[in-house]
């Protein structure tokens, strides 16, 4: 579904990604793990077209989307839940969800249906639908961010550190919902620092080190890999 071929990305003069290649097949959860600053977020931002003109090739459903403007990528069916959630603090929960629906605003009839779906997934949002986004708790904001991403009914959902800053119990809850989302038919590319969690729920994984993919494979195998264990799983 998504394929990156030898992608290089730059911030100013600094090269952040070196020939990164990876693949996400339909129906999968693929995780991308790595240390802070390894280039995980940059990879996602390159896919989303936020990093200006990356080199290499980014294919989505066989179509080259390298360097396309972000909105058109979103309209193709990729949604991204960015790091730090970045919900709109001055919009209500409903309005935030409304923004998530933006790529499909020409089909207003489906709005209610989608709304119901995300409210089923995150009932707490329905209770607080008229509250301003900024007044939600951290966990609720994360749920809102996920829900907002889902409102676009994406084929592929990119998640950037969804567990960051959440209490362990909430992390579990969020991970469960990611699995649930996947089961409902959304392909997921998950970026996580919490490697154990990520590997547990994903089908395959990639390890990114200073802008280069060093290890890749099925999640179960990665968890067994000695190097991964020592570097990322702390065992």
């Amino acid at each position: 579904m998504l394929r990156l071929e030898k992608v290089n990305a730059f911030y100013g003069h600094i090269q952040a990604l070196h020939e990164v290649s990876l693949e996400v097949a339909e129906g999968e959860i693929v995780c991308l793990i790595g240390a802070n600053g390894a280039g995980k977020t940059t990879t996602l931002m390159s896919i989303m077209g936020v990093v200006s003109t990356p080199q290499g090739k980014i294919l989505f459903e066989g179509e080259d989307i390298t360097g396309r403007p972000t909105p058109s990528i979103v309209h193709k069916g990729i949604s991204c839940v960015p790091e730090g959630r970045r919900i709109f603090p001055q919009l209500t929960v409903m309005e935030n969800l409304d923004m998530g629906f933006y790529p499909r605003r020409d089909r207003p009839a489906e709005f209610e249906e989608d709304l119901e779906r995300v409210f089923r997934l995150f009932p707490v949002l329905e209770e607080r639908k008229d509250q301003l986004g900024g007044t939600l708790s951290g966990g609720q904001q994360q749920m809102l961010a996920l829900a907002r991403g889902l409102m676009a009914r994406p084929k592929l959902l990119l998640l950037d550190e969804p567990s960051l800053g959440l209490a362990p119990l909430l992390v579990e809850q969020v991970m469960e919902s990611i699995v649930e989302i996947n089961k409902q038919g959304t392909t997921v590319l998950l970026v996580e620092q919490n490697a154990l969690m990520a590997l547990e729920i994903s089908h395959r994984g990639y390890v990114l080190e200073t802008g280069t993919i060093t290890i890749s494979g099925e999640s179960g195998k990665l968890m067994a890999d000695a190097q991964v264990r020592s570097s990322y799983l702390g065992t």
Partner: protein, 294 residues
């Protein structure tokens, strides 16, 4: 009785002035709500609108009111998009202080280029109502002021509806609050910003058209920008109703302080109140607008 008439007249004058400031404040507010920046050339945009309407379309080409208003609005909308391209877009990722400086520089340029384009004589046009007005119980009100107040209320309602109910409005607010996140929602942020500038320039155009008959158009007209800014702060940034209420408050403060404290210090008093609000109540009178990180 005579005293009552005087006080009523003062209130009328304050509300009349206030509705003008409120009108300008709506323009600030719009850009702020959509881009999260303050266009310090907003007053100069009003002046430019006034010149285009009064100097060029009315006096030079002799157009009647409505076509002149429409053409001014269109011209200013285009101008807004162009100036957005020049003063905002190149600085979209720079520190906000650079945007602030660039809008000030744009203001200086506009003031002085208009001096060359339209000359040094103030442009005076009669508008729809000229100097005619109502007289009730010793209180006189120019029709033009009533017209302005009506326009402000209509624009307020439109703006309120637009930002709260329409997808376009909501996505503009989203862009202002978090541009990256908005882009990740598939919102074309830069198109939104261009629309924003176009609309707020149109608001400025309407301001210029409405003000021309009561204040005349000259470079001094651009000074309403600062009062409009004060109105925004007092009403609370980002709050649309607050902007208009802030405008009315500034107008009333100005008239009453000129009447009972000092006519020469009235602007100083408005500034002092503005500073007081900035320091002690940055969320404005209504206190609905949450903290602004400018």
């Amino acid at each position: 009785m005579a005293e009552l008439a005087i006080v009523l007249q003062q209130i009328v004058a304050g509300l009349a002035l206030g509705s003008i400031y409120g009108l300008v404040a709506l323009g600030y507010n719009f850009i702020f709500n959509a881009v999260g920046i303050v266009n310090l050339a907003q007053g100069d945009f009003v002046m430019l609108g006034g010149y285009i309407y009064g100097g060029t379309l009315t006096l030079l080409l002799g157009l009647p009111f409505l076509p002149a208003l429409l053409l001014t609005a269109i011209a200013m909308a285009i101008f807004g998009i162009v100036s957005q391209r020049i003063v905002y877009y190149p600085l979209r990722d720079a520190h906000p202080r650079m945007v602030m400086l660039s809008t000030i520089a744009l203001g200086i340029f506009l003031k002085n280029i208009s001096l060359i384009a339209w000359g040094t004589y103030p442009v005076s046009v009669s508008g729809l109502f000229g100097q005619r007005g109502l007289r009730i119980a010793g209180v006189s009100i120019l029709y033009q002021y009533i017209f302005i107040l009506v326009c402000v209320i209509i624009l307020l309602a439109i703006q309120q509806y637009f930002f709260k109910k329409t997808t376009l409005g909501k996505s503009m607010r989203a862009v202002a609050q978090d541009r990256l996140a908005a882009m990740l929602m598939g919102i074309d942020a830069y198109k939104m910003i261009a629309i924003t500038f176009a609309y707020s320039s149109t608001l400025a155009a309407i301001g210029g058209v409405l003000l021309a008959p009561v204040f005349m158009v000259s470079q001094v007209l651009a000074n309403v920008g600062l009062k409009g800014f004060a109105a925004c702060v007092i009403g609370g940034w980002g709050d649309i109703t607050g902007a208009v209420i802030g405008g009315l408050v500034v107008g009333l403060v100005e008239v009453f302080s000129a009447s009972y404290i000092s006519s020469v210090y009235k602007d100083a008093i408005v500034f002092a109140i503005l500073i007081g609000f900035l320091i002690f109540r940055p969320q404005g009178i209504l206190g609905r607008a949450t903290e602004v990180s400018l």
